[in-house]
């Protein structure tokens, strides 16, 4: 007769097999305990209360943990408890896998706290006289199936740290990556100091978050301009600069981005008082060209048709090889590239919004320099890069600028006069993407420009005050950028025989964040007309995705698998591309 397991609170009853581990049965039934040390009985985070049923004697480790924590009776580690008879267990809330929300507002999505880097403290005992195990074995053997690192430098360090002075028992902390690799052994109990970095490596802007891997909380954020911008505003110019010259220009590009990141990391550590040594992992979400340049891999294949990448999925690489100023024994994980220019920023973004698990048809757009679009139809996804260009980031526009203090991000036309708002309410000194969209939409609405984009005023200028204006050429740049995105959406939809009406939602990510005025974006054709309730603004989804990948190891596996399955569409190769694109230049709403 199979033993029955009853789970409190709630009272769910399940049939188990005799001898099965309680943690496994609970996991399979959808009750996620914090199995921090990977079921090795070391971390003490999966204690449950045996309400009714056999209560075997605790193991040595268990007893030590029970005593240290002063836990009440009948508590046993679920990872070590085998079900032998009908049992009733109560799951204390502190033993459940903590969940963190991925977004602060907008869409709800949370992930379980299961980071790749874990710190577990334990007592290292003096080896016995007759058959003394080696030092590193002592450290490693606590972790069933764990491997020592391959780096000789890491081994030297570890042997140094794990040494027992005066040959006495000592407490140490093992730093373990993906439940397998022993990265380091630290003296004493350092489990309280376990941090990671989530990095959005954008073409123009770079954002770094420092995250507490114990709580999942973001402790601090720093943002800066990508140091490579002096080589070119867009990814293509940088690739062109590096083309055929990896030794000098390629290396210079790499140094520029790594130095820039290190400056942000240093600033963050200073501000938060966290030592870089406590950071054992950084997850980087960047587009394909950026992550290649960061690692110093050649980008020549991205420069010419068919524009293919050097890699899509990489194992976590040693931090010391990347030049990032975190613990050199740590790792750097690069969010996987999908194909061609559609890269890790997108796979991270899809992870953040968990698109794969949302039933239905969706479009995900990342409105940045590259304007990537992903279309999900049922279970399948396709992606394309629209090369919208930097117009939406304020570049190539006469009085355009990035979304920084002083940028006009919102504009309204009231009784013939322009009323604008600037970022940080600083004196207006330029117009950023969302401001440009507002101005074009309202100029169209009030008949100051034709749907073909022609400025009717004989001066060929739309002045908004403060010495700021749009000229004819600026309108054309915005038409081109909007047409690129619009054509991308239309062609992807047509390619899968879908219409806007078939969509269950559109996710908009990217620099615009919350500033984008949907009505105006729709009026100029940048986004299709769709029920407002179906539009989701998710801000910097790449950064949120990087954080999700940092905090949840199984999400990486899912992300990699998904990245491999997403089809790529080359829009420019489409038969109707020219016709669609030319038509899309018209400023008008569509669906």
């Amino acid at each position: 007769m199979s033993p029955i397991l009853k789970i409190l609170p709630g009272g769910t009853a399940i049939e188990a097999r005799r001898g099965e581990t309680l943690a496994d049965v609970l996991e399979a039934a959808g009750f996620h305990l914090s199995l921090y040390c990977g079921r090795r009985g070391l971390c003490g985070k999966c204690f449950v209360e045996i309400v009714r049923g056999p209560v075997p004697e605790p193991t040595g480790e268990e007893r030590a943990l029970l005593q240290r924590r002063e836990l009440p009776q009948r508590r046993r580690l679920a990872c070590g408890y085998r079900i032998e008879a009908d049992t009733v267990v109560r799951l204390p809330s502190e033993s459940m896998l903590p969940e963190m929300p991925v977004f602060t507002h907008g869409i709800t999505r949370s992930i379980g706290l299961a980071p790749a880097v874990k710190k577990i403290s334990y007592a290292l005992s003096k080896p016995g006289l007759s058959s003394p195990p080696a030092l590193l074995d002592l450290a490693k053997d606590r972790f069933h199936e764990a491997r020592l690192p391959e780096s000789v430098e890491a081994l030297r360090r570890m042997a140094g740290e794990a040494r027992l002075p005066d040959h006495q028992d000592r407490e140490v902390t093992a730093v373990i990556h993906s439940n397998r690799v022993l990265l380091a052994v630290e003296k004493g109990d350092t489990t309280g100091r376990n941090y990671g970095l989530a990095i959005d490596l954008g073409t123009t802007t770079v954002v770094v978050e420092i995250v507490d891997l114990n709580s999942g909380a973001v402790i601090g954020t720093e943002a800066g301009i990508n140091g490579q911008t002096r080589f070119g505003a867009d990814v293509i110019s940088r690739i062109a600069a590096a083309y055929g010259d990896p030794e000098r220009t390629g290396a210079a590009l790499r140094t520029a981005v790594v130095d820039g990141l290190n400056q942000l990391i240093d600033a963050l550590c200073q501000r938060t008082g966290i030592r870089p040594d406590s950071v054992y992992e950084a997850v980087i979400a960047g587009n394909t060209a950026m992550n290649h340049l960061f690692l110093g891999l050649p980008v020549d294949t991205l420069a010419v048709a068919p524009y293919y990448a050097a890699f899509s999925i990489l194992p976590p690489v040693p931090a010391e090889d990347t030049g990032l100023r975190v613990n050199p024994r740590g790792r750097v994980y690069i969010a996987p590239n999908i194909k061609s220019y559609v890269g890790g920023d997108i796979s991270a973004g899809l992870t953040a919004i968990d698109l794969e698990r949302r039933p239905g048809n969706f479009v995900f757009i990342d409105l940045g320099t590259n304007g990537e679009i992903v279309l999900k139809k049922g279970a399948k996804m396709v992606a394309a890069s629209t090369a919208a260009g930097p117009a939406f980031e304020g570049m190539t526009i006469s009085r355009g600028m990035l979304a920084l203090p002083g940028a006009v991000f919102r504009a309204n036309l009231k009784d013939g006069s322009w009323v604008v708002r600037t970022i940080a309410d600083a004196p207006a000194r330029g117009i950023c993407g969302t401001g440009l969209i507002d101005i074009v939409a309202l100029s169209l609405k009030h008949g100051r420009i034709t749907p073909r984009g022609r400025i009717l005023d004989p001066d060929k200028k739309i002045g908004i005050g403060d010495g700021l204006f749009l000229v004819q050429k600026d309108i054309r740049e915005i038409q081109l950028a909007a047409a690129a995105v619009k054509t991308g959406i239309r062609m992807l939809l047509a390619g899968r025989r879908l219409t806007v009406a078939d969509l269950d939602g559109i996710f908009v990510a990217g620099a615009f964040g919350n500033y984008l005025n949907i009505r105006n974006a729709t009026a100029i054709g940048l986004l299709p007309r769709i029920d407002r309730a179906k539009m989701f603004f998710v801000g910097n989804a790449s950064l949120a995705g990087a954080r999700a990948l940092l905090l949840n190891l199984p999400e990486r596996v899912r992300c990699e698998r998904l990245a491999g399955k997403i089809g790529h569409v080359s829009l420019a190769m489409g038969e109707d591309f020219q016709k669609e694109f030319i038509e899309a230049l018209n400023l008008e709403a569509w669906n």
Binding site: I236, A303, V304, A305, K473, S570, E583
Partner: protein, 221 residues
Amino acid sequence: MNNPNEILALMAEAVVEGNRDKAASLAARAVADRLDLHLVIENGYAAGIQKVGELWEKGEYFLPELMASAEAMKAAMTLLRPALESSRGEPSSEGKAVIGTIEGDIHDIGKNLVSSMLSANGFDVIDLGADVKLGIFIDRAVEAKVDFICLSALLTTTMLNQRRLIAMLHDRGLRGRFKVLVGGAPVTRQWAADIGADGYGENAMAAVKAAKEIMARGAKP
């Protein structure tokens, strides 16, 4: 019956409006009525394209308008060219060209516009498409005995292939046989000069102008 000047004005108008049907039907009438077709092209349709160029420069006209005008012009030329040829007894063409987007590059809207405009202006154009291997450009140019090779490139990386093609022409002893015209977003007059190209066009209108100038320079006395 409209007086001749009125008809020419209507033809120009058809091109400026991008009205293909109007342009074609006026051309058909011109042929049927045995009007002086050179004048029809010069003062009628070409005058229209000239106006389109001015409107483009002023920013009044953008890609859609340009495309539509080029198409209207092409529609008229399709009817006028055969009639011209049969009356003169020899093929009338401003010149012959192969055009394509260079190897490694798939962007072709700009190139298509230049191709249309050259056709509209009386050139014989063989459009090789996009991502055209350098060898193919040269082979087809030799085969069709063209006057020039037009190369479009959108990226600074693929632009480098324009220089390579000119070098290839040198290697094959063919440099003197063809004129090379280059263009594309990153291409500049300076670049064209640096690589030894014969001409440069920053947009479709300029490309036609450059092509005509090259042909005029090379015209035998």
